[in-house]
């Protein structure tokens, strides 16, 4: 199944989504956060769309190129660190949760959003040289949850509508009617 055409397709789709992801990153810079450089984490939506379709390697590649490019284009060295930390932690958590299949899309996305902010907090403590940021922990937790919900719901709407040719659905273990 991994023929040249499908590889080419994957690369093309990944590249396009990287661009879309970059756009999200740019739009994110307009949403105010208490620490300059921190982001709300809307770009996680792309990760959420890629993990169940094109898989971990593609999702990771898109995420990382988004982080690097957005820092180069519209960010500072500090915002790069925030994005990297937030993105790495969030990606790891999201990928793991997708594999475990313990939570639904909403749960995965929420935890991904929270993880994103936790990563950013860690960088903030390091960058600002003080643990004062922890006073904002409750709010950043909430913001992560809400951002995660938004992203999760968007993902739920978009995922079934993605063209199957470009976004092959990966192994679906669960039957449609699992008890809620």
């Amino acid at each position: 199944m991994k023929d040249r055409a499908s590889v080419a397709r994957r690369v093309a789709v990944s590249a396009t989504l990287s661009a879309v992801s970059l756009l999200f990153s740019y739009l994110e810079t307009f949403i105010p956060m208490p620490i300059p450089g921190m982001k709300i984490g809307l770009a996680n939506l792309i990760t959420l769309l890629l993990l169940p379709t094109l898989g971990v390697p593609a999702a990771a590649a898109v995420s990382f190129s988004r982080i690097a490019l957005s820092a180069l284009l519209f960010g500072s060295p500090v915002s790069f660190l925030y994005s990297l930390a937030g993105g790495a932690v969030s990606f790891a958590v999201t990928a793991l949760l997708f594999r475990l299949r313990f939570f639904g899309l909403a749960g995965i996305s929420v935890l991904g959003g929270v993880a994103h902010n936790l990563g950013q907090i860690a960088v903030a403590i390091f960058a600002l040289g003080t643990a004062r940021i922890l006073a904002l922990l409750p709010w950043l937790l909430l913001s992560g949850v809400v951002a995660g919900l938004v992203v999760g719901l968007l993902g739920a709407v978009i995922l079934p509508r993605l063209p199957r040719g470009l976004f092959p659905v990966r192994k679906e273990k669960e039957p449609e009617n699992e008890t809620e």
Binding site: I31, P32, M33, P34, I35, I40, L128, G129, T130, R132, I133, A135, L136, W139, L140, L142, S143, V146, A147, L149, V150, L153, L154, A156, V157
Partner: protein, 353 residues
């Protein structure tokens, strides 16, 4: 799942959540994340300077303190009329060269002198930097009187008359192109004590503000200058009642200054009579308008310092009319020796904070 209903419901939910998301950014934005840092600088202007800054990290606060300390130490040396310092020409250098040659001075000092000349005109001579000869007579007598109270004396009439005559004849020439200042009349001298602290505080604060520092407060020997706010809360500037306690408490944010001139700050006693340090240019004696203190609140610390001295040498009516020349954003609190209080602007009855 039926497509249409699901989509609409999801769409509504998404918009709602997005709205909630955005509104959640706001509390975290206004949450105070700054810590209070303080430093005390002892020495410049023969007094203590206390600095407070609300900053996100210590290195920023330290940089602010270091910059302020460096600048105020420099200003202190430049404006000093009692000591000279190796390698720089200051006001003492200028005064010692009165009647002989122009002296090359630091551009900042020339700014200060020009400021003094302008204020001399604007206050109709109430605040006169060329009153040096008279002021130094009082300074000598005060210093001697504090050291040996039994032998304390006031300057004699003839001393004062001579000094006053010199001061009246005195002029100050400033050549910005050459970077020099010149006192042509021998015996004349410059004394900027009435406004130097306020001017320096304002200059330094403004420079640091344009360097990006904010949310700080400086108390330079009683001259308050604040900027921004104290972690979201307004700064508290208060006037002390000479009899004890606080009157006139102002809570504000932004760039603001409060300066108080008081008769109780620097005085000495001769035969049971107190002689304070603010000399009335008309009488050549300490101002005798019955004020115990005059406090001025406005955006510029230099203006506040000038006005607090000027108003100390005027009765209330004359003071109020002088104020009208300085604009409406100046507030004043007069306190008489008997404890009566008069205020305009923020200090007016019921005006409060």
């Amino acid at each position: 799942m039926p497509r249409k209903n699901g989509t609409r419901r999801t769409g509504a939910l998404i918009s709602l959540v997005l709205l909630l998301c955005l509104s959640l950014c706001l509390p975290s934005c206004t949450f105070p994340l700054q810590k209070r840092y303080a430093r005390v600088i002892d020495g410049p202007f023969d007094t203590a300077t206390q600095l407070v800054i609300y900053s996100r990290n210590e290195s920023n606060a330290e940089a602010f303190f270091d910059a302020f300390e460096e600048k105020i130490t420099a200003w202190d040396k430049l404006a000093d009329i009692y000591h000279e310092y190796d390698g720089i020409n200051n006001l003492r250098t200028l005064n010692l060269s009165a009647g002989s040659d122009p002296v090359a001075l630091d551009p900042r000092l020339l700014d200060l002198l020009e400021y003094g000349l302008t204020k001399r005109d604007e206050t109709n001579g109430r605040v006169d930097l060329l009153l040096g000869p008279v002021l130094s007579l009082w300074h000598e007598c005060r210093t001697a009187g504090l050291a040996d109270p039994d032998a304390a004396r006031t300057p004699t009439e003839s001393e004062l008359a001579a000094a006053s005559a010199t001061a009246k004849r005195a002029t100050l020439h400033i050549d910005r192109a050459a970077g020099t200042a010149y006192l042509p009349v021998p015996g004349s001298s410059v004394d900027v004590g009435a406004f130097a602290k306020g001017y320096a505080a304002e200059r330094i604060s403004a420079e640091l503000e344009s360097d990006g520092y904010t949310d700080f407060a400086a108390n330079v020997g009683g001259n308050l200058r604040v900027s921004g706010d104290a972690a979201g809360e307004p700064w508290t500037l208060s006037v002390r009642d000479p009899a004890g306690g606080t009157v006139g408490r102002i809570e504000r944010s932004g760039s603001l200054s409060l300066v108080t001139s008081g008769s109780y700050e620097r005085y000495y006693t001769v035969d049971g009579v107190r002689y304070h340090h603010i000399v009335d240019p008309d009488t050549n004696y300490p101002a005798a308008f019955g004020w115990a203190s005059v406090s001025v609140l406005c955006a510029d610390a230099g203006v506040a310092d000038v006005l607090s001295t000027a108003l100390f040498c005027l009765d209330r009516e004359a003071g109020v009319s002088l104020l009208s020349a300085f604009g409406s954003s100046v507030s004043v609190l007069w306190i008489t020796e008997s404890g009566e209080r008069f205020g305009v602007g923020a200090f007016a009855e019921g005006g409060g904070s």
